[in-house]
Amino acid sequence: MNVNLFIKTLEIPVFGMIGVFAVILIIYVFIKLISYIFDK
């Protein structure tokens, strides 16, 4: 069990998950935007 490295690297999953949600949020805004412009 590598507890030290586990604790040290905890930021990777935390920032990874936040990063995925952030990019997805940006993509969501753009999908809404192009739908609003072209599919009204």
Binding site: M1, N2, V3, L5, F6, T9, L10, I12, P13, V14, F15, G16, M17, G19, V20, F21, A22, V23, I24, L25, I26, I27, Y28, F30, I31, K32, I34, S35, F38, D39
Partner: protein
């Protein structure tokens, strides 16, 4: 006559075990119809590369290297990420993103269902894997073979063979893995929640702009994912353009068929007994299963949390369809919904979440690569 039997005495017990593993994979592919396009070639390859002094893989004979055809294919098609990328053109050409574009909030379920990747990463670190291997194992949770191959190969993981076998095997058994987790995390009332679906008209312009915009945004915010996303979206653009019908058909059929034919047998070079038979392989299979479990749980719990805030409730099972295993997980959710209430039609919502999972899993892979590159 002695030379005929010489090689027979070079046969090792671990190689025979690999023949048995290869046989099991072939059995699962043929008898159980589990991802036969990949498991059958991998199974056969596992036998081929584990013959003593197999000429199919690179051998050192009298100090001279003799490159085997499977290693040649690996170096030309996988170590440079060519095969998974070509496969992504085909996947992009096969996917219709309309259910997602017409109901874009489903994209968040795709993001939530990547939870398993990140939790498995930490678990793999806890079990003593080094960073590059932990990230490669975690990406089994992408539920997406080409992404797993891409990331594991990019990081030059020592366990690429076990990772690929786990990724494709668990994708094939999504209908077995997901239902008990969904049932455990939801009540009957939640599974009965109906969701309105009004098919909004999506214009051709939107469908054409979608792959271009996704590529640009991914490139700007998750640059490590742009090769995979770019090829996925290129395939989709070819499909949606309407002017490349022949190319679109080739991208949907011939291209993935040819690449898949070579991919499975090429991967088998990493199934040589000396690399494959060890305790870590079992650990990887276990962690891979956990990745699928946590992906499903992440998606379902996200749906339940959303319901605390939403007036119009969502069926939390939709979250389970956010994994990238397309279209199996969407079907699982739809079937489970109909089991509780035969008039409940969740399929289009689930498909929206499912195709969102395809994009999110690649983004998660790119994100993981970016984050761990600071540590390597």
């Amino acid at each position: 006559m002695e030379y005929i039997f010489d090689n027979l005495f070079n046969l090792r017990i671990d190689q025979i075990i690999m023949w048995i593993i290869g046989g099991i994979l072939i059995y699962l592919a043929i008898k159980k119809n589990m991802e036969p396009t990949l498991l059958l070639p991998i199974g056969f390859g596992a036998i081929l590369v584990n013959l003593p002094a197999s000429g199919a893989v690179t051998q050192f004979i009298n100090g001279t290297e003799q490159e085997g055809i499977i290693d040649l294919l690996f170096n030309s098609g996988i170590s440079n990420e060519l095969f998974p990328l070509l496969l992504f053109i085909g996947i992009g050409a096969m996917i219709d993103f309309t259910p997602l574009i017409s109901n874009p909030k489903m994209i968040f379920f795709g993001a939530a269902a990547q939870f398993g990747i990140f939790i498995t990463f930490s678990l793999a670190i806890l079990f003593g894997f080094v960073l590059k291997d932990a990230a490669s194992i975690a990406i089994i949770g992408a539920a997406d073979g080409p992404t797993s191959i891409f990331v594991a190969n990019f990081l030059n993981s020592n366990y690429i063979g076990a990772i690929i076998v786990a990724a494709y095997s668990y994708m094939a058994v999504v209908p077995i893995i997901q239902p008990p987790i969904i049932k455990t995390l939801t009540t009957v009332e939640e599974r009965k929640i109906r969701m309105k679906y009004s098919l909004k008209k999506v214009s051709k312009t939107t469908k054409i702009l979608f792959p271009i915009i996704i590529t640009i945004l991914s490139g700007l915010f998750a640059p490590k994912s742009v090769a995979l996303i770019g090829f996925l979206m290129f395939g989709n653009l070819v499909r949606e353009s309407g002017v490349l019908n022949l190319l679109s058909q080739s991208a949907q059929k011939e291209l993935p068929n040819i690449v898949t034919l070579l991919l499975g047998i090429t991967i088998s070079t990493k199934m040589q007994a000396e690399y494959f038979i060890n305790f870590n392989t079992l650990l990887i299979l276990g962690l891979g299963l956990l990745a699928f479990v946590f992906d499903t749980a992440g998606g379902v719990i996200f749906g339940k949390v959303l319901n605390i805030f939403l007036k119009e409730k969502v069926n939390p099972m939709i979250g389970a369809a956010g994994i990238s295993a397309f279209p199996m997980s969407a079907r699982v959710v739809h079937k489970m919904g109909q089991k509780e209430d035969p008039q409940n039609f969740l399929l289009m919502h689930a498909v929206g979440a499912n195709v969102a999972g395809q994009i999110s899993s690649v983004l998660a892979g790119g994100m993981l690569l970016s984050l761990i590159s600071n540590w390597l």
